[in-house]
Symmetry: C2
Subunit: 364 residues, 2 copies
């Protein structure tokens, strides 16, 4: 059943006001809004109806109304105005992302900080990698009589290295042999492929530098295993305490504690089949600790099988329009940067992420 235009307008007003004030909204406040042409009594009737329909709730008889989860859903899906970013906002976001950073995890830490700043809420950034990474290529570089650097190039084109010491002298030829063996036998297989049989086989044909093989296999296994891993950074936790709903220390503590625990580690799973921005409202959320708390997450593509996500955690009352707008913009900027890896380039003036899917919302 479709709501009347007027009901929608009232509902939107209530949500907007509640987002701004964090306090139950009364009929008077609504009817005093600039473009509301009805008296408080009429509004009262509409609000009573909306309460009946389950879009609003009443904390107690003589208080105003607050939006229910269903009310938020309707708001996010249909009613909220899309919040265009001002020029200054896009500028400050861009210049923040601009400094090219070298290491992905450092960068994502920084991004979390920026998102937190932009939204005034705690922010999360996640990178997760599909498993199935393999080593594409091994190189060994000799440094001094017993020093050897192992350089591995992964199937994701990421390059990792490790410095090793060799107890006996090894010639350049020994190392060339070893790397040839490694490249022949140990490329294109995942972490689970490094069996002890393989290890033995490689060692037997590896010549003088064979004692390096276990170290290499260890390192490779560990590296590949880590590749399937998710990596998460959180910033701006303190901002939570600035919000009226978390003046109650116990509530705040529950939420903050859930950051430290791995309550959020199933976020990637939840987002797996989603695209664009997803709003998780209220109870039965990713983590049970987060009643009254919503999570807004946006996925973006890093390339190379890497999956990036940024998001914020805040009260269900948060300003969804602003938050989703900023997240989308961040995500889009980041996507652009990652797709031109060598010369990070700013996305230009276009202020809103038009290419993204509309936000979807999940509730209950």
């Amino acid at each position: 059943m479709e709501l009347s235009e007027r009901k929608k307008k009232v509902l939107r007003s209530v949500v907007d006001l509640y987002i701004r004030t964090a306090e139950p909204v009364g009929s008077k406040a609504v009817c005093e809004l600039p473009d509301m042409k009805f008296s408080s009594a009429t509004i009262r009737n509409e609000m009573a109806a909306l309460t009946e329909l389950g879009y609003l709730e009443q904390p107690h008889t003589s208080a105003g109304r607050i939006p229910s989860a269903a009310g938020y859903r309707l708001y996010v899906d249909e009613l909220m105005a899309d919040h265009r970013l001002s020029l200054e906002e896009t500028k400050s976001i861009n210049s923040a992302i601009e400094d090219k950073m070298q290491r992905l995890d450092r960068m994502m830490e920084k991004v979390a900080k920026l998102v937190s700043q932009a939204t005034d809420l705690p922010a999360i950034s996640v990178t997760s990698r599909q498993s199935g990474t393999t080593v594409k290529r091994y190189d060994l570089i000799q440094t001094g009589p017993t020093g050897v650097i192992l350089v591995m190039m992964l199937s994701t084109d990421e390059v990792v290295n490790k410095l090793m010491r060799l107890p006996v002298d090894a010639t350049d030829t020994d190392l060339k042999l070893l790397s040839a063996v490694l490249n022949a036998a140990m490329t294109g297989i995942g972490a689970e492929g490094f069996t002890s049989e393989l290890l033995e086989k490689v060692m037997s044909s590896a010549g003088a530098a064979a004692m390096l093989v276990p170290v290499i296999v260890d390192f490779a296994t560990e590296t590949l295993r880590r590749q399937g891993h998710t990596d998460m950074a959180i910033a701006g936790q303190a901002r939570l305490l600035g919000l009226p709903e978390y003046r109650d220390v116990d509530k705040a503590q529950k939420v903050l504690t859930s950051f430290d625990s791995d309550a959020l580690s199933n976020l990637p799973a939840v987002m797996q089949n989603e695209n664009g921005t997803k709003v998780l409202v209220g109870p039965e959320n990713v983590a049970q600790e987060l009643k009254d708390t919503s999570v807004v997450m946006t996925k973006f593509d890093i390339g190379d099988g890497l999956q990036g996500m940024i998001g914020v955690v805040g009260p269900t009352r948060m300003d969804y329009a602003k938050v989703t707008a900023r997240l989308s913009y961040f995500a889009e900027s980041l996507s652009k940067i990652f797709n031109k890896p060598e010369q990070p380039q700013l996305p230009d003036g276009d202020p809103v992420g038009e290419g993204l899917d509309p936000p979807s919302i999940q509730e209950n």
Copy 2:
């Protein structure tokens, strides 16, 4: 002037009780302690004297006493019992540090988490590197027609790499030439040494792969600059909210916010000339935000010009004995691990870090 034995005993009792209960300590509570053989009236007199001397304070007339900053100092310096770790405690610390981890920063993140767990307080881990790092050696590895991996070995023996793309085909010989030039001209100099004259000089003699030089110089500069940098991880922020003194959200927020800002970035400077454990008590602390808050930090050596620190942040009332004991033990274990880089090995059963300097304290 030296305090009488009895005064010391009373002072110790007051601090101990206050640490346990977080509430002003009355004469009755003190005289009910097992080995206190005087009546509450006597204790009252002693406490009045200690207040006179500035070691105790009275929040208001009819409340008990709490230790002043001076009181804490005396306590930490002379009075506190050294808290020996139980076997389980050492075991759990060891097994936690045990999993060898590859990347230093990841490891320090993990360590912060562990310290936080062990002390039930927010924990900080810092690694800082003296500047003055240089590149010791360059290697170029060709991967496919246009792919090149740059591997740099730093004077700290750390190895970093970067994947680059070359717009034109380059032969193995071109790369050999380039790396020879790099090794000849660009080793042993710091970030400030990479001038544009040097860049030009190197480019002119670099042959076919010369266009890589600016990218390499950029990367090297950035890397070296980062080397002088401090790196910090914080864990367990939520634990702060569990403490009675931070039920006041505003206080808690101030402290937590100071984590996000760089208020703590001068910690390394403060610790520069200190060894062992340092206790920073109360106001005029590292960060002004941290009134009522103390920081306990322990330095340890990572080697290779790297400096490690772990510490906790908590109320001035924190259990110094326990905290310093655990920090020392952690620090010692970490030192041992870092000094046997290839096969991390557990420190064995010796429960307390006897080799460390006695804790020093700074106040005001």
